[in-house]
């Protein structure tokens, strides 16, 4: 797999020369769409504020302190790749004691997949009607080098994996983008919503397990269903075998596995809930057609609805995993073998 270039040594990707940005604004009519777009880019090119610089320093400190060299490298690599591929990116960070929050801002443009996604997320590449698609970097997929991305219709979220960022014209990514486009067309009534043309592909980073589609984060309430069903069942078994403690060990083991997975699912959910808290994806009346032409060509359909908004792309790295892996290295791991990016136990698959 080509992405091994990142993971094998744990060293970040070598940054590529930044792509050319937009045309200078001064040569354009101030009210023209092109001028507005250029002004937006100029705005993004403004010096990073001191607060942002401080936050970036804190983020770098947190990354430097991470015991897992691969996850550390991944976060570094993601920002490097986005800088190279998606244009200008800023990072802000916050560490709340349990999770690292890093906000990435991507310059909307019409030359790269990432930039075009940002266009959509910034309500730019649409037919003048407010719409919402958010671009999110999925920790699960970032942990899985092969993952490309997925589209969640419930939240109109595009989840990008590392490869989706790296291979901006990759056919798989285009496939997912096609689903997003199809979804909007269906909502708009332009295309019949028949034959199950909408789908959400699975999270590449999460393996499947017995009886439960761990790998498919298809529904917003899946973590809760998972807890009610799987953990509820294990708890019932513990209660039923109250008089035979010798039967508890395997049940407890299974419960520990399921609890760990519930935590993972909830962490994924946090990303989406975070979007929802901003009001994203709650209206069903603002759907419109995504005017998504061939991404290899500059879009001819850019509307004057350029408002200078940028796409906020959240990346949250669950430090619990890092801590658990540190525990594993110390010999007290709840699971895992302590290796970076190690697969969960086979029983979870």
């Amino acid at each position: 797999m080509r992405s091994k270039a990142l993971g094998a040594t744990g060293s970040p990707l070598k940054p590529v020369a930044k792509q050319p940005t937009e045309a200078p604004a001064k040569a354009l009519h101030p009210e023209s769409p092109s001028a507005r777009r250029a002004a937006t880019t100029d705005d993004l090119a403004a010096p990073v504020s001191s607060a942002l610089t401080d936050a970036l320093k804190r983020l770098d400190q947190v990354i430097a302190a991470m015991p897992n060299v691969h996850e550390k490298a991944q976060l570094d690599a993601v920002t490097a790749v986005i800088r190279a591929r998606g244009g200008q990116v800023r990072r802000t960070s916050a560490f709340d004691g349990q999770r690292l929050h890093a906000a990435l801002e991507i310059v909307p443009d019409d030359r790269t997949v990432l930039g075009r996604m940002a266009e959509v997320a910034a309500n730019r590449e649409a037919n003048g009607v407010t719409m919402g698609v958010t671009v999110t970097f999925s920790p699960a997929m970032l942990r899985n080098y092969g993952a490309k991305g997925m589209y969640l219709p419930q939240t109109r979220s595009l989840y990008l994996g590392l490869d989706a960022i790296r291979d901006e014209y990759d056919s798989t990514t285009q496939h997912e983008l096609g689903h997003a486009r199809q979804h909007f067309r269906e909502r708009q009534g332009l295309v019949g919503a028949a034959d199950g043309t909408m789908r959400s592909s699975g999270f590449g980073g999460l393996p499947h397990s017995k009886g439960v589609a761990y790998g498919k984060f298809q529904q917003l309430d899946e973590p809760f269903q998972f807890i009610s069903g799987n953990i509820g069942h294990a708890i019932s078994q513990l209660v039923q075998t109250r008089s035979t403690p010798e039967a508890h060990a395997p049940i407890r083991e299974e419960l520990a596995e399921k609890t760990a997975w519930a935590g993972d699912l909830l962490e994924q959910q946090t990303l989406i809930v975070g979007d929802l808290l901003t009001g994203f994806g709650r209206s069903k009346q603002n759907d419109t057609v995504v005017n998504w032409n061939d991404s290899s060509k500059p879009s001819a359909s850019l509307t004057p609805e350029r408002n200078g908004r940028r796409a906020d792309c959240s990346y949250q790295l669950p430090l619990r995993r890092v801590r658990d892996r540190a525990d594993a290295l110390a010999g007290s791991a709840p699971y895992g073998d302590g290796r970076a990016n190690s697969s969960p136990p086979a029983t979870r698959r």
Binding site: S200, L220, D221, T270, V273
Partner: protein, 72 residues
């Protein structure tokens, strides 16, 4: 933030906390009664969050309202 949103957020955070607590209890070999108590609370709160989603008309569609078909 609306009351319903705040409630969902609160329950979601609580759920994550409970999951971690249960993980920790299992890890340290806590008595089964304690595990059952924690697990039962977790399941109850998960059900509450699911209800909170379903009962809030402003919440995004969850599985009950989703007719999309899924395939790989």
């Amino acid at each position: 933030m609306s009351g319903a949103l705040r409630e969902r957020h609160q329950i979601g955070n609580e759920l994550l906390g409970l999951v971690r607590e249960l993980e920790q209890a299992l890890r340290v070999g806590a008595p089964t009664d304690e595990v059952v108590s924690l697990g039962s609370t977790l399941v109850r709160r998960a059900a509450a969050l699911e209800r909170a989603y379903r009962d809030d008309p402003s919440a995004p569609a969850v599985s009950a309202g989703d007719t999309s078909s899924h395939h790989d």
